[in-house]
Each structure stands twice: as structure tokens, then as C-alpha cells.
């Protein structure tokens, strides 16, 4: 049997292919949107994976350190380290800011990590170039997405840092590349004020009779000294000993230290379910809108193509063609249009959009499969209007009169 749909497509293949390419660009955007969502989730998971922590100990009743601000004293780690089931602890600070390098600045998440060795919680788990931080001050390890190079001099607040190592896929939940610096520097960076502000603060403190009491020598100096140091960190990262349950250790810390503790699954839920939830909903809405627009476009194209064949369809019906043959003609064309669109869309998303998109776009094979099935289903549904129009064609139209 002759493939009517195939012959019709081949007869006007240029028009068909160009229409499919137009649809493909739309499908490409749709696949990219799905990829952006996957990328956001992957960024969030990468942040958790790369921290090397099993538990996050944060300020009580906060969703810190990523979804909300959290401050705990920087000696809290000692008390946690001594609890049963805890193998290692490390302070950590996170500060999202613009880091200057020469004439340019890059939005990064500056992470303060404690001195230690590779494998310490919070440290970048691997490097692609250079070495880890070995000095207590003014060294940095940067993600290659920052486009910093080994030996570059970075400016964070008033201090300068030398890039001694480069790492990869170390990003914040928002996709900003990370720059690791020593914890003390990071604590200082979080609260360090400019000279004028420090001068103002000292003057105000000296003017306060509660702090400047002549009968208590040294009080003013002590207060000023306490104001110029930062004893806080954002969180304590905890690695637990093998064989211990993270939930039980977390419960123990909550009970005895009166701090909020999150396990890996809870932190993942916070990042994915709360931190990127609004973005995810926006992307979901875009996906729905794009799907509806794609359906409307396919329906319109197929309907227009069918209307252009009304006379031929009337002749086919008059000479005895079965309805299923006519339905097959329209539906096969609709699916073929979708297939061309999907191939073009997949190529567009993979080769054009993903590499140049400023955020990480993760195109998963399963999403492509789901996208393919969705395109086929949409094309079948979109052809229904055209099929109804074709089945209503009266074969008598071919005779006239």
C-alpha cells in the first residue's frame, strides 16, 4: 500500500522540513527549560556532595546555612566533635559576593574552610590544577567556572588572595562558582568594615558612658577589641563514623547542644523543595506554556495542511478510501512533523543552547525520552481537530453541483 502521508511530505518536503525546524526551535527551548531545572537540582546536590558532610549543624530554628542566614559560635565544633558517632567536624562560612580580579569581577560564593587536609568537611574534594590551601591566610582555590587562573590575584573586601588551586563543578545552589579561602579570612570578610566605619564605631563606643568608664580602666579597649573580631561561623559540617545512623547522631546533637541539625536528605529537601522551589515552579509554568504553544502550533499547521487537501480528501472518500486511511494520512504527518521538530529541538538544546546558556543545563536522557513521548502524544492530540475536519468532508464535494 502506498504511504499517502510519506508521499505528501516528500512532495512538499521543503515546506514540511522548515515548518518542523520552526517547531524544533520551540521544542529545543522546552528541552532546555527542563535542562535548566535539572541543572538547578544538580547544582544543589553538587553543593551538598562537595561539602563532604553527613550533617549540617546550624543556628537553632533556622534553615541555614544555604536557605537562611545562620550564625553559631566558632568553637561549637569542639563540643560536637566529642559526641558519640561524630568522626570529624569543621567550621564553614558562606558569603555570596562579587570577587574582583583585575578589571573584572565575578559573582561567587566565597567559602571559608578550616585549616586541615584534603577530605576535611567543606574542602573541595578534588582539584584539576594547583594545590589545596596550605597557609592560614590569603590563599584561594577557585572553581574553573570563575575563569580565574593559577597565580591570579583576587580582591575580597580589602584583602588580596592568590589562586593556588582550581577545582570543577563546585557551585552554590544558585549556580555561582565557589572560591575557597581560609576560615579566618572569611570570618573577617563577612564583617569587615571600611576604615571610616571602624573609626565611626570606635568614636560612638567611646562616647557611650557605659563602655567608657574612667573607674574601669581597659573596659573601652576590651569592648572595641570585641567589636573588631567575628567569633561566628555559618555552620559546622559533621562527618559521622561508619556504622552510626545520621538520624540518631543528629537527634543527639539537637537534644544536647540545642542547635538545629539537618541530615543529607533534609538538607536536600530544603535546597530543592524550598530554595529553588519558586524557580522550579516558574520553569514548570514555562514548560506548560511551551507545551500548549507547541500543541497549538502543531494543531494549526496540521489543520492548515488538511484544509489545503479538502478536495483530495473528498476524492479519496468518493473513490472508496476508508476513514482509517485518511486518519492515518493526517496523524502520520502530524507525528512526522513532531519527529522532525524533536530531532531539531534536541540538537538545538544540546549543541546550541546548553553550551552558551549562563546557567548549568543538564540534559538527561530520561528527559529526552519523556520529551519524545510528550511530542508524539501532543502531535496525536493536535491532529484530532484536523482529523475531525477531514472526516466531515462530504465525498459529494468532489462531484460538485
Amino acid at each position: 500500500m502506498i504511504s499517502l502521508a510519506g508521499r505528501d511530505i516528500m512532495h512538499a518536503w521543503g515546506k514540511f522540513v522548515f515548518t518542523g525546524m520552526g517547531l524544533g526551535l520551540l521544542i529545543g527551548v522546552t528541552l532546555s527549560m527542563a535542562g535548566i531545572y535539572r541543572g538547578m537540582v544538580d547544582d544543589a546536590k553538587a553543593l551538598l556532595d562537595n561539602s563532604g558532610a553527613d550533617l549540617w549543624v546550624v543556628q537553632k530554628d533556622t534553615l541555614g546555612p544555604y536557605a537562611e542566614p545562620s550564625s553559631i559560635y566558632d568553637d561549637t565544633w569542639r563540643a560536637i566533635r566529642g559526641m558519640p558517632g561524630v568522626a570529624r567536624t569543621a567550621n564553614v562560612t558562606y558569603l555570596t559576593m562579587q570577587v574582583r580580579q583585575g578589571d573584572r569581577d565575578v559573582r561567587t560564593m566565597v567559602t571559608g574552610v578550616t585549616a586541615g587536609e584534603s577530605g576535611t568537611p567543606g574542602w573541595p574534594p578534588y582539584l584539576v590544577a594547583g594545590r589545596q590551601i596550605t597557609r592560614g591566610h590569603y590563599e584561594a582555590v577557585a572553581d574553573i567556572a570563575t575563569k580565574f587562573k593559577l597565580g591570579d590575584r583576587l580582591q575580597i573586601r580589602r584583602n588580596h588572595y592568590t589562586v593556588v588551586g582550581l577545582t570543577r563543578r563546585m557551585v552554590s545552589s544558585g549556580g555561582d562558582p565557589m572560591v575557597f579561602i581560609p576560615l579566618k579570612d572569611a570570618q573577617e570578610a563577612q564583617f569587615l568594615k571600611d576604615n571610616d566605619a571602624i573609626h565611626q564605631q570606635r568614636r560612638r563606643t567611646a562616647a557611650n558612658p557605659s563602655f567608657n568608664r574612667p573607674q574601669v580602666p581597659g573596659l573601652l579597649d576590651s569592648v572595641i577589641a570585641s567589636q573588631s573580631t567575628n567569633p561566628y561561623v555559618n555552620a559546622v559540617l559533621v562527618q559521622i563514623e561508619p556504622g552510626h545512623s545520621p538520624d540518631l547522631v543528629a537527634e543527639s546533637i539537637r537534644r544536647w547542644k540545642r542547635l538545629t541539625v539537618y541530615t543529607r536528605s533534609q538538607m536536600e529537601e530544603i535546597l530543592v523543595g524550598k530554595l529553588i522551589a519558586t524557580s522550579a515552579k516558574q520553569i514548570a509554568m514555562f514548560l506548560v506554556i511551551l507545551s500548549v504553544v507547541s500543541s497549538a502550533i502543531v494543531a494549526f499547521i496540521i489543520y492548515t495542511l488538511t484544509l489545503g487537501k479538502i478536495r483530495e480528501i473528498a476524492v479519496l472518500k468518493l473513490i472508496g478510501t476508508k476513514n482509517r486511511t485518511i486518519v492515518g494520512l493526517i496523524m502520520q504527518q502530524s507525528i512526522a512533523l513532531g519527529l522532525i521538530g524533536f530531532v531539531v529541538g534536541k540538537i538545538t538544546a544540546t549543541l546550541l543552547m546548553a553550551p552558551i546558556f549562563p546557567k548549568y543545563v543538564l540534559l538527561e536522557p530520561l528527559d529526552s525520552v519523556i520529551g519524545f513521548v510528550a511530542v508524539v502524544v501532543i502531535c496525536i492530540l493536535a491532529s484530532i481537530i484536523a482529523i475531525r475536519a477531514a472526516l466531515k468532508v462530504d465525498p459529494a464535494e468532489a462531484i460538485g453541483g
Binding site: 500500500m1 502506498i2 499517502l4 508521499r7 505528501d8 516528500m10 512532495h11 512538499a12 478536495r311 483530495e312 476524492v315 479519496l316 472518500k317 468518493l318 473513490i319 472508496g320 478510501t321 476508508k322 486511511t325 462530504d394 465525498p395 459529494a396 468532489a398 462531484i399 460538485g400 453541483g401
Partner: protein
């Protein structure tokens, strides 16, 4: 009693009902023998197209009887279940314009009909080639319809009407778009094919050029037919 051809008796068709009812056919009698070509002529609104649609099983008559070959297909109601199969297997159509499927080449346009009836691809194409030889278009077998002249397109349309060897062919003003030379050529071909394949052909026309070629003519006026002997003028 004829073994083939078509006979209709007292065929009526009423559109609408009540005060707005219109009787398009008021009791048409007609008989066309195998191998015979008859003309059906009449002014606009006389019922020609309605009669053609009834004969083609496209619309249902209101009353009467239609016998196709030795099968009664209508007797105050359809006597066959599958009208599409009836049209496909027993009735050939030739239209005012060729109405070839533009995305199929000449061979596929013609071979499609037997394929729809379940005939194997090879056999369908062989039948088409035989008809192309008879109609002198075998050199255009691979061409697309848009590459054919008007006369060639009409000959391909005739081949499509004949391919399933139907006992009757209904031609709706097949010479309307053609000049007199081509029109007479088409009528000659139809006469040749009618004789060769023992097919009864009814040609609806107002074309004065071809009316003298019919041996029998049915005039239709106000839904009633009148039979008249034609000139049966020989083709030059």
C-alpha cells in the same frame, strides 16, 4: 435481464421536509447497457447532480430502485452495507476537473484504487500500465500531475475510473475544461473503453460539442428524465 450495466426505476429524491421540501428527482427511469455511453443533459437545477450523486451512492435516494449489474443496490433503502466498498469496486468516477492527487505520481494515482481494494502492489501497477497503453499516456507514468497537460490529466483520470473494471462509470462534465478537439478525443476514448471493458458510461454534460456523439440521450428537467435518440455522430 442485463447481466451488467445499470438500471434505475422510479428514483426519487426529496430534500428537506414539510413546506420547504424540494423534490429534486420525481421518478427517474434510466437504463444503460454494458459498453454503452449515454448523455445526461439538462439545465442548471434540473437534478443532474442529484441523480449523479444517487447513482454514485454518495447520497441516499428517497424512493425507487437501482440495479447495478445483477445486484439490487437500492430498493427503497440501501441493500448494501458498505457504500464505500460499493463505490470503490463497482462505480468509476470521472470529474469535471481531473482531481488527481497532487502528491502521487501518475501510476500511483491510478494504482491506488485497486490497492485500496486489497489488490497487490505489483498487480495494481500492471493494471495501470495496461490502461496507460490503451489511453496513450504510458510515457507519462512517472510524471507528477502538475507536469501533465490538461488532456493528459483527463486521460489519467479516465484510467483511474476504469482501473477497478467497474460495471458503470459516472462522468461529471469530463470535457468542460477542454477545447473541442480534446473534448472529442476524450469522448472517443470513453467510447473505446466502454466497448473494450463492457462498461456502462453515463456522461453528464451541457457541452454542445459532444452531445451529437451520443446515440442515446437522457434529458432531465424538473427531476424527470426523457429519453431521446441521439445523432451518434461518427468521430472524425
Amino acid at each position: 435481464m442485463l447481466a451488467k450495466g445499470i438500471r434505475i426505476e422510479g428514483l426519487k429524491k426529496r430534500y428537506g421536509s414539510g413546506d420547504t421540501a424540494v423534490d429534486a428527482l420525481r421518478g427517474v427511469d434510466m437504463q444503460v447497457d454494458p459498453g454503452e455511453v449515454v448523455g445526461l443533459v439538462g439545465p442548471s437545477g434540473s437534478g443532474k447532480s442529484t441523480l449523479l450523486k444517487c447513482l454514485g451512492a454518495v447520497i441516499e435516494p428517497t424512493a425507487g430502485r437501482m440495479i447495478l449489474g445483477d445486484t439490487t443496490i437500492y430498493d427503497n433503502g440501501w441493500k448494501v452495507n458498505d457504500l464505500r466498498a460499493l463505490r470503490r469496486d463497482k462505480i468509476g468516477f470521472i470529474f469535471q476537473a481531473p482531481y488527481l492527487i497532487p502528491f502521487l505520481d501518475v501510476t500511483d494515482n491510478v494504482a491506488l484504487l485497486p490497492m485500496l481494494a486489497g489488490v497487490a502492489n505489483g498487480e495494481a501497477r500492471q493494471r495501470a500500465r495496461e490502461l496507460f497503453q490503451a489511453l496513450d499516456v504510458e510515457h507519462r507514468a512517472k510524471a507528477m500531475p502538475s507536469q501533465l497537460s490538461g488532456g493528459e490529466q483527463q486521460r489519467v483520470a479516465i484510467a483511474r475510473g476504469l482501473i477497478n473494471r467497474p460495471p458503470v462509470i459516472l462522468a461529471d462534465e469530463p470535457t468542460a475544461p477542454l477545447d473541442s478537439t480534446r473534448a472529442l478525443a476524450v469522448i472517443r476514448i470513453l467510447n473505446d473503453m466502454a466497448r473494450k471493458f463492457e462498461t456502462a458510461i453515463i456522461i453528464v454534460t451541457h457541452d454542445e460539442k459532444i452531445i451529437p456523439t451520443f446515440k442515446r440521450i437522457y434529458h432531465i428537467r424538473d427531476g424527470v428524465t426523457y429519453e431521446e435518440a441521439g445523432e451518434g455522430r461518427a468521430f472524425e
